[in-house]
Symmetry: C2
Subunit: 377 residues, 2 copies
């Protein structure tokens, strides 16, 4: 992972905008720029990037971890045990000390879309001029390098194994959560064998039956599959932080002709999107092309989300494939293609695959069959 | 779940502080005050609470879900498909409309510790006086009612099953992630049988071996257990949103005498904390009592985190059991008790149990044995 190169690009941007220092708050952005990620929750971690050095503020329980993993020049630790009461006991103690060396009116880069307002106000009060650098990091992260693409491919492969294994267990009486866990278990076994000492994770959501699949996103529940259910199974797998998404709509038992048609339509809309996405096309063109498939068939009103989102370190990454996004797509971008329709009384229909843009086109890193013949159990 | 009663309490606070309207951003706070929670990621959801009504702004793909689940008076939807381009296409479109009816200088309650600064600035620009209501919601959420405690107990029970099942699979050669998944699978099976059509979730982290367990928190990896490993297995299970935490330190093969002593010390420190916690005691007293056990034994310097955190809808909830927290504990509070030491070359030692404060004492909702005889595999 070329942290050095990323920092160079980021610092060039800071120079251009006359930003002296940037404060990075968002965990995935911190990982991107420092290589360090922790399970943090209630204990803030802060990365500071100046033109000369990078600094990291962590809670005591992350000291050893950060010393080992973080690509930073300086590490500051705050404590939460009584014997350290005369030292720093909050990240703000460090931040105050580090920031007071800068003169009034210094330009400080922050992620305004993410930074909590209490921290924003704290920085403002110290006399900084606050400037957004969030969009720059979004734009940098949107273009994946070779290292990132290799990790995404592994995630895609593992998600295929998991999807296949869960689908082998699709039957009346299995609950959504049990169905999910079949695939999880297999993927963890394969990952443990093939990729020793790496971080692998996953998240699944399954909406089974007409009533639940009418809603595009729900947490999996203990509801059991019933005969005739249409089911949307949604899955993300990450390998060392990089995520692939893999979703299939399938039937438990025989669907009606109408339901078959709806799934075929969703596959067609997805294929049109996958055929269209490539460098030089705008984000909105991909969205509109898929939408038009539904619309022409008379189902436009049952579309309620964009055709896809960026993917990488976060579950959803900007920029989005949305009807009003004029962005011109580039090589190295990664997108889900997942047009869907949700029809009252008939259920929801959506596959999602993850595609990587090449110089002249794109390819999918998820491969489970999409045709209806493979999706009736 | 008594949303009505919660809103009443919250509105009384708003009256007291002369707050006309509150904007709730944090998902768990929204769930607490409206009963609605979605997988949202990149699509903001906003809850507005005035003295007369509650309003909810959701993206199109959550419309059906929100109409079904949200205890609110009005629902506003924003869209992301081209045929809706003349309607609201961002949550800000709704927010602008809804907020412009309020006169300049109106007091608006926001969660300053959570609300993104971009939203804060947007609200400020509309002429509102922004006041923090985050701490009030924290305080309300800290005291659990009967409904919440019932859910926590189920979560505790499921976590015990899962912990037991994972520990049955502790052996040389199993990876951390495979070890986790044994318990996950069992708990999902039991939940599917005993609690139909409910939402259940879990999260595990396992740090195996001296090197990894020296760090209190790490994501589980594909590292395989080795003979002589000390392992910290950490697990949260949630049942309809309410979380129990259950952690055990154990050995794969025979530990050294020194390691046995360290685990015994951690158990003793935990027992002291569990014996002490009750209404009327301050948060810091619990922390200091457990710390003193380590300190007296000469291990104070190897403590690097507080003794426990609040628990409920979020992974970690304020207020914390920390050396500098003077808060007097009350009936209905829920805490983890999890003192730990992390000794270079010898590994980490920490059990965590979840306790609920009663009128005169407390009881644990997690029950796996804590003694060393039960924890060598």
């Amino acid at each position: 992972m070329s942290i050095k190169k990323r920092l160079e690009t980021f610092r060039n941007y800071m120079s251009e905008k006359e930003i002296e220092l940037s404060l990075i708050w968002e965990p995935d952005n911190q990982y991107y720029l420092s290589g360090f990620r922790a399970i943090s929750y209630s204990r803030p971690i802060v990365t500071l990037i100046s033109h000369d050095q990078t600094e990291l503020i962590v809670p005591g329980l992350e000291e050893v971890h950060a010393a080992e993993k973080a690509n930073v020049d300086k590490l500051y630790v705050y404590f939460e045990q009584i014997d350290m009461r005369h030292r720093e006991v909050s990240y703000l103690d460090h931040l105050s000390k580090l920031l007071k060396t800068y003169p009034f009116g210094t330009k400080l880069g922050v992620e305004v879309e993410v930074l909590p307002s209490s921290v924003y106000l704290f920085l403002k009060q110290l006399g900084f001029e606050l400037v957004d650098i969030g969009q720059k990091v979004v734009n940098m992260r949107a273009i994946k390098d070779e290292y990132e693409i290799e990790r995404l491919k592994v995630a895609g492969k593992l998600s295929d194994y998991a999807l296949d294994e869960s689908l082998r267990h699709a039957r009346v009486g299995i609950s959504e959560l049990e169905f999910d866990s079949c695939g999880d278990r297999l993927l963890l076994g394969i990952a443990s064998k093939d990729y020793p000492e790496e971080i692998v994770g996953y998240e699944d959501w399954t909406c089974s039956g007409v009533k639940r699949s009418e809603k595009p996103h729900l947490y999996s529940s203990t509801r059991k599959f019933e005969d005739g259910d249409v089911v949307i199974h949604s899955r993300q797998v990450w390998f060392n932080g990089y995520r692939a998404e893999n979703e299939r709509t399938f039937f438990v038992g025989q669907p009606s002709e109408k339901q078959k048609d709806l799934l075929k339509l969703a596959v067609e809309a997805q294929q049109v999107g996958m055929d269209m996405i490539r460098p030089g096309i705008t984000a909105k063109e991909v969205d509109l092309a898929s939408y038009e498939v539904f619309n022409k068939a008379g189902y436009g009103e049952y579309v309620n989300h964009r055709v896809g989102h960026g993917l990488g370190l976060s579950e959803h990454e900007e920029p989005y494939l949305r009807f009003d996004n004029e962005l011109v797509l580039q090589e190295g971008m990664v997108y889900t293609i997942e047009p869907g329709i949700y029809v009252p009384g008939l259920g929801g229909y959506r596959h999602s695959d993850t595609v990587i843009l090449t110089k002249s086109g794109s390819y999918s890193i998820t491969h489970y069959p999409r045709g209806i013949d493979s999706l009736i159990f």
